[in-house]
Symmetry: C2
Subunit: 296 residues, 2 copies
């Protein structure tokens, strides 16, 4: 292991990821564990961090994500839109002298009420690596965020629970009996087009997946892809004011980015994609540089 | 116990209900158990029935619900719309000589694909007790059915998974942190009006319940009632062709009927309500009378 200068940490509800960073800004090593915030009591954060990167401590640690929520290690109160993505000057230092851990705050919006924690750091990373970007950033995932960016600031944003809905419906509802692993691009786009053109029909369209499975032998992978399409189409219908006439940057996992890009492209929306992990690291690196100088 | 002439059975995925019926058509005793179809292997049905009503056997048994599905005791193939609710002549006799058990079939629709099992018997009960009814029957529940009835026949129907969505979102999604038991009529109607007037906004409206809980202290019972309202409003938007300009009969649990009636009344839709259990028993009784004569 080279000379670790600091540790970048992405600490969400269900994951803990750490990058051991060198003086040059290069990643020496990436590690992860399942010790997400959701699995930890308040006293469990320090042991979880030590278990993952204890051999590299003590060096400064900069973290983002749910670790800064009220139920996290130390609360980093939300910054309000409109605002630049919170930087290191707004980071909260975890109490105690043993470790030097700072947590970046999330962002809140009053009307309509909305919150993010973690995505703001990915946004910061995207802005840092794409200076001058004006438009919309979409961060698909469990809770997909649509974010209007102007002049380097988060102007407004909305959340759709599409990923969580898909997980619940495909694995825990009656529809699970009609699902199989795999994918079907045609079925996905059928679903997207159905709810994007007639979003009011969503509630009547879901059980059809089960009924077509029973009556018509609809293949499980087609049912799964169409369910995803129906939900993403409904999300796009709700978020139309965000993407209509805009350029959209997707920040997410590669496959999920691809599904959204396929749907948006049919609507004539120019899209680019970036990987969520890359943007998280870029955002943490930019914030770290604010404290310790650009050379970091 | 009086002289049991036959046994009416409502056997769904998660419940088993039985009524011991006298010669006069009166209920001698009602019993129930948790031995729903979902908990049973194929060989488990007879023991489950004997455990509940073995002391009254052998008398004819007439059953409806998921017990007649492919994964049930004996498959009772679907009848196709348009059709009168299946009667005793379409009932399937469970193989074997030990017991005299008949199962009523469900109803299917080819386009759009849809299925029901159990609701057709409630519909038969409603038609039997409300002769001449023309209009729409709504059976709210885990999978709410909207059914167009004309001249005593099921013309068409659609299913909305509203009840299952509510259960999943309120108890298993991130929204569960913002929910509390209880109810708030005003919040419910706000939710209904929001998605009924702008159904395309559903996907963006759900996470607001969580955000308002975090930022504005939205009370848990208001969040729960508004979630229900948002989902029922979205269902009503999807089912508008069913209820617009129609009279609607609700067949369901009393509280749930009340929620739908409150929402439909604001749209000027005349509603009446009946209890699901009463209609199931009336439907089974009507079917039994077809086999054994009106005196049953």
């Amino acid at each position: 292991m080279g000379d670790v200068a600091w540790i970048a940490v992405d600490w969400g509800t269900s994951h803990l990821r750490a990058w051991l960073m060198g003086q040059s800004g290069a990643v020496i090593e990436a590690r992860s564990s399942a010790a997400g915030m959701g699995t930890l009591e308040r006293g469990g954060f320090e042991p979880a961090l030590r278990a993952l990167v204890g051999d590299a401590l003590p060096v400064p640690v900069l973290a983002c994500g749910m670790v800064g929520s009220r139920q996290g290690w130390a609360e980093a109160p939300y910054t309000s839109v409109p605002c630049a993505p919170p930087g290191a000057d707004q980071a909260v230092r975890v109490p105690g002298d043993a470790l030097n851990v700072r947590i970046l705050p999330g962002v809140k919006q009053t009307k309509p009420a909305d919150v993010m924690r973690g995505e703001e750091t990915q946004i910061a990373g995207f802005i840092a690596t794409h200076p001058g970007f004006d438009g919309v950033i979409c961060l698909p995932g469990t809770h997909t965020k649509w974010v209007h960016i102007s002049a380097g600031e988060i102007v407004s944003f909305r959340t759709a629970m599409t990923g969580e809905m898909f997980a619940l419906l495909s694995s825990q509802s009656v529809l699970r009996h009609s699902m199989a692993d795999g994918w079907d691009d045609v079925a996905f786009m059928e679903g997207v087009n159905q709810t994007l053109s007639r979003p009011e029909g969503l509630a009547a369209s879901l059980f059809s997946l089960r009924a077509e499975g029973l009556l018509d032998g609809l293949p499980g992978e087609a049912a799964r892809a169409r369910l995803s399409g129906l939900l993403i189409g409904a999300e796009l219908a709700a978020m139309r004011p965000y993407w209509l006439g805009q350029q959209v940057a997707m920040i997410g996992a590669e496959t999920l980015n691809g599904a959204y890009v396929a749907a948006l492209t049919t609507q004539g929306v120019p899209c680019q994609s970036a990987k969520a992990d890359d943007m998280t690291l870029a955002g943490l690196t930019a914030a770290y540089a604010q404290i310790y100088g650009e050379a970091a």
